[in-house]
Amino acid sequence: METNFSINYENKVVKVTLSGSLDAKRAPALADEIKKLIGKDIEKIVFFAKDLEYISSAGLRVIIFSKQKIGIDIKLYMVGATEGVLDVIKMSGIDNIMEITDTYEE
């Protein structure tokens, strides 16, 4: 189960589409991509998680990290996450630092 993620940065919005497993093996590549955005003018990071099947603390850490490193004032969104992924996000209290929605409107 690979994570295939794609990142798009446009109009101060970063869109990250996740799929498969975001685990300790696969999270570092995402962290590397997010690091490349440090210093850019960003208002929102939107994670599209409809096809994300599994997340571990390594994956959560990338999300926390993106807020800490890109800017503490940016807004994080988690869109369409499945029940299992949402459970893990809530368990760890990360739902406090992001907006969880079913769909996303531009």
Binding site: S56, A58, R61, F65, Q68, G84, N96
Partner: protein, 136 residues
């Protein structure tokens, strides 16, 4: 019963995780519970890979086993590193604001959340962590 031993390193991470996933599926867990088991095991496995052998190479062993009446599933994760009891770790403050929160520290916390029973023993020069999950 199934058992695997191999060097505790990132190259073997997927093999270890696949082993657990198949065992959990064979034991009859649904997808959601399989993923909880994967989560707990990943957190422990990653800690063994990262911390158990600071200045040498070492092995990790994983044993999977249904319990006698078939109502649940044991996973034993064994290493031969320095004594470390994850149950003795204080819980992280999951309510801290993001800017204050330490990156990390969540692993063992999540294990406790998704697993039904959790036991640590030191036997000889090995750390034995036993995780137990009910089938439903």
């Amino acid at each position: 019963m199934a058992d695997i031993i191999m060097p505790a390193n990132m190259e073997n991470f997927d093999r270890l995780m696949d082993f657990i996933q198949v065992e959990a599926e064979n034991a009859g867990f649904d997808k959601k519970l399989v993923n909880k088991i994967r989560l707990a095991c990943e957190e422990i496995i990653i800690n063994v890979i990262n911390y158990a052998y600071p200045d040498k190479e070492g092995d990790i062993e994983i044993k999977c086993n249904s319990n006698k009446d078939g109502s649940g599933f044991f996973i034993k994760i064994i290493d031969w590193g320095a004594p470390f009891n994850p149950l003795a770790k204080p819980e992280p403050d999951i309510n801290a604001p993001a800017d204050e929160r330490e990156i990390g520290g969540l692993g063992i916390f999540l294990v406790r959340k998704v697993i039904d029973k959790f036991d640590y023993t030191r036997e000889g020069n090995s750390n034995i962590l036993t995780l137990f999950k009910y089938l439903s």
